[in-house]
């Protein structure tokens, strides 16, 4: 109990510090620490699936994205005076934030206790999906449409990043290569860590059907390994124009959508699986989906091509 209270205050403190930090990089470091502490809280709440996702995506991958954004911001000049918000705008933003926080604080005590839950129904019907992990059953069967939409949002985000690239960058390899020296420390760790990382990523994906894990967490680890290989110069990052790259990105959501539409013919509802083949269909969706998520996340972090600055 004392540990949980201490953890709560630590998270609140780190959150306040992250907001108050004046430097972008310091704020990002605070954000990553905040995410890791949040993952610890999810573990304490007996939600290891959420904890894994928070640590991998919320803290690790988003942290990487923010560091990239921060370092790109530092290169460009500071914004002109007319673009920095005035006192009136800042006050309005603060008042709105306080109102929303106060509204949320007022609503939370009004929620029914115990909270309404569908957990018993999930537990009662999980055998029909052939899965052993109720979280995966919710993500891939009961609320599969949410997962489908999440993938589409990720893909749209990547299209957005690519749309902002100048035409001249279109054929260049994405992201930036850090180490050109084959004897560098980065190359060494990449060669040693990547086989282990790929194994762990596949394990986390595969074990998701019966234990905490799943395609998002596994894909994040796979994406991290690809980013490491590309930064260390072990693989050449592809250009946007490569056809196989676009195919990998699209095939995950496409298979998902195709099986979802087939649900109309087989069982009469979108994204409904016939009970006898539910596990197999979920697996057929999940494998290309994991690859697509890994590629999308890796390319989001890699960002547009960065020319050598030397």
């Amino acid at each position: 109990m004392a540990f949980d209270i201490g953890l709560t205050f630590l998270v609140l403190g780190v959150a306040a510090w992250t907001i108050a930090a004046r430097e972008t990089f310091a704020a990002v470091v605070g954000f990553v620490a905040y995410g890791l502490l949040l993952a610890l809280i999810w573990v304490r709440l007996a939600a290891p699936d959420v904890a894994l996702t928070e640590a991998a995506l919320g803290s690790g991958l988003t942290g990487g994205l923010l560091i990239g954004a921060g370092s790109r911001l530092r290169v460009s000049q500071s914004p002109p005076a007319e673009e920095t918000p005035g006192v009136a705008l800042k006050t309005a933003a603060a008042v709105l934030c306080i109102l929303i926080s106060a509204g949320l604080a007022a609503i939370v005590p009004l929620l029914p206790d115990p909270a309404p839950t569908l957990a018993p129904q999930v537990a009662a019907n999980i055998a029909a999906t052939g899965l052993g992990n109720p979280v995966t059953a919710v993500l891939m069967a009961y609320r599969a449409i949410d997962t489908l939409l999440e993938i589409v949002v990720l893909l749209l985000a990547l299209v957005g990043v690519w749309s902002l690239m100048p035409d001249s960058d279109w054929g260049l390899p994405l992201g930036s290569r850090v180490a050109d020296d084959p004897d560098s420390v980065l190359t060494f760790i990449a060669q040693l860590l990547i086989p282990v990382g790929i194994l762990v990523g596949i394990h986390i994906f595969w074990v998701g059907s019966i234990a905490p894990g799943g395609e998002f967490q596994g894909a994040t680890i796979l994406a991290a390994m690809w980013i490491l290989a590309s930064m260390a110069g072990l693989v050449d990052a592809p250009a946007v124009t490569r056809r196989w790259l676009r195919l990998v990105l699209v095939i995950g959501p496409a298979v998902f959508l195709a099986i979802g539409l087939a649900g109309f013919a087989l069982t009469g509802a979108f994204l409904a699986y016939p009970e006898s083949h539910a596990k197999l269909l979920i697996l057929i969706i999940e494998i290309p989906l994991t690859l697509a998520i890994a590629a999308t996340l890796a390319l989001l972090v890699a960002g547009p091509p960065k020319r050598a600055q030397r």
């Binding site: 420390v185 980065l186 060494f188 760790i189 040693l192 860590l193 282990v196």
Partner: protein
């Protein structure tokens, strides 16, 4: 037997906690980046190693023990290489020499 194991666990985890504390104090108090890196990697290597050692006495089966050791080895590898990379950038003679 289990009492002995519990005592060993408590001792090892406490020793590990001491190294993390010392590493954190070093991170806050040491004068330059290389010294601070030194303090940090000591905390990671020895502190985590001792915590893992303490938890090994409580491991339910050999597989769980193996996973714990793997976590420590991976943290060692990551800590050592990241320290090298940061030290390259931080040393007084500049990033490339």
């Amino acid at each position: 037997m289990s009492l002995v194991l519990n005592v060993l666990s408590v001792l090892a985890v406490c020793a590990g906690g001491f190294f993390f504390l010392a590493g954190t104090v070093g991170l806050l108090r040491f004068p330059d980046p290389l010294c601070r890196l030194h303090a940090l990697t000591k905390a990671d290597n020895l502190g985590l190693g001792l915590v893992v050692l303490g938890l090994l006495f409580q491991a339910a089966n050999p597989l769980a023990a193996l996973k714990l050791v793997a976590v420590w080895l991976l943290a060692l590898l990551a800590g050592a290489t990241v320290a090298q990379l940061i030290a390259h950038l931080a040393r007084p003679s500049g990033p490339r020499a």
